[in-house]
Symmetry: C2
Subunit: 268 residues, 2 copies
């Protein structure tokens, strides 16, 4: 298995606090030592970093802990390989262009038989079931629309594709087209939204404490989503299995498998 | 204008010596301060780094000068913007997947009217004429073959597409599919091949001197290609305008616009 980390915010936001916890789980406080990657969207582009080595010992990951890269959408992953060799082309997050948008995808779980699902245009570079699933999703979207559809239509289509993939096994995933962050919970995923009044938080795995009131503006809305809670003194909400979170500008919308929208617990 | 740097080698090779010279031209010894990027192939994957800021002052570029990333194919670029804003999505090298291969592209020059050339599948994420040209090339290749063709067929097709683009202005470019490095000279490009017996070399812009006999194995073949000579005590060969260099495992083949293969000067 692997671990996922995602962020959606309404202002460019520094993710170093959360990334520090994830990076240590890559071979130090967790067994995910088979590679790591992170993509920071900036406009329609993304700064992406990948290494097929443990993040806990990585000089590049240490540099990222020092560099204040601010982003409104982030997807990160630490890998414990189960399908596909440990190498660069099998290191998440994966990326492709569709409709002039840069798409980024990371997955945790296993999808039995997905490699038999035919692909027309998008082909895997590596050998993971995850990348095959990503290519299949983009193929399906491209077949349906020649240009970027409205957000609502795209949300529904992504949720339907997630539901199909989820029938093959465990499909925890993060996906973005540079506008929206999608998260599907196959088995385990949780999130929290930070907004005013901001409090303090302490990482689960180390004694790093942040006072968000000092770090953020009054109107900031930041949602963080992760496989396991990253802080020990905040209230994380478990995503229900089969639900898709649709995150834009930090705001959370929940889509159920049948397409009904439900209010997220923190606002309901 | 911008500057290009490419490398093809028969063994994973450290490019830091050459990259140091290029990085300083990004805002220090040269005016190319509008961003920089580098892609290091490793198998079918690539480690890629991009910043829309000057490389000469970049902490990330400094880290890369310390990290011994070894690669058999490298493409790097420092940007002086003429078309397209200074931002991440306009920062070379650009990357796409075609036929399950990761393609990387960097360009120096201007292509007047290329944005009017229609695109079917590959669409630019940013607004440069360069990325449009890259998308057009991949569109043309995808239209011709559904799967990766033989190297010889692909070489000829790439050279023909370069010749078409070159009619629009200046098309100095580097392109790779993870197997071959292609270089087209529209106006200015030079290269050299290092092989036994190895000598020493000193960078043009600073007093960094390397003794390649200490750094390389007896069978290593390394070809470096750049906009301008990077060392002051080696013999760089200018590529003729309209010629395409096809580089595999460090070996150089020259394709002329009419398709005739010519022996490179160093071996002729």
């Amino acid at each position: 298995m692997c671990e996922l980390l995602g962020m959606s915010a309404n202002v460019p936001t520094d993710i170093r606090f959360s990334f520090a916890a994830l990076a240590r789980r890559g071979g130090e406080t967790g067994p995910h030592a088979d590679g790591w990657g992170i993509a920071f969207y900036e406009g329609r582009g993304a700064r992406a970093f990948h290494e097929p080595e443990p993040s806990a010992q990585s000089e590049l990951a240490r540099l990222l802990r020092r560099m204040p890269i601010k982003s409104r959408i982030v997807i990160a992953h630490v890998r414990k390989a189960n399908r596909g060799r440990v190498n660069l082309e099998n290191t998440h997050p994966f990326s492709r262009e569709l409709w002039g948008r840069r798409w980024t995808f990371a997955h945790n779980g296993q999808l039995k038989g997905v490699k038999k699902w035919p692909l027309a245009w998008f082909k895997p570079v590596g050998s993971t079931d995850s990348e095959h699933a990503f290519c299949w999703m983009l193929d399906q979207l491209q077949e349906r629309w020649r240009d970027l559809p409205s957000p609502t239509r795209l949300d529904r289509a992504v949720a339907d594709l997630c539901a199909e993939l989820n029938t093959l096994g465990v499909f925890n995933m993060l996906l973005s087209d540079s506008r929206t962050l999608y998260a599907h919970c196959g088995k385990r995923l949780c999130y929290l939204t930070r907004r005013a009044p901001f409090g303090t938080a302490t990482l689960v795995d180390e004694d790093w404490r942040v006072d968000f009131a000092q770090e953020t503006g009054a109107d900031d809305v930041v949602t963080v989503i992760a496989t396991k809670a990253l802080t020990r003194d905040e209230c994380w909400t478990d995503v229900e299995r089969g639900h898709v979170l649709v995150l834009r500008d930090g705001a959370v919308h929940v889509l159920t498998p049948t397409g009904r929208k439900v209010a997220p617990p923190c606002e309901g």
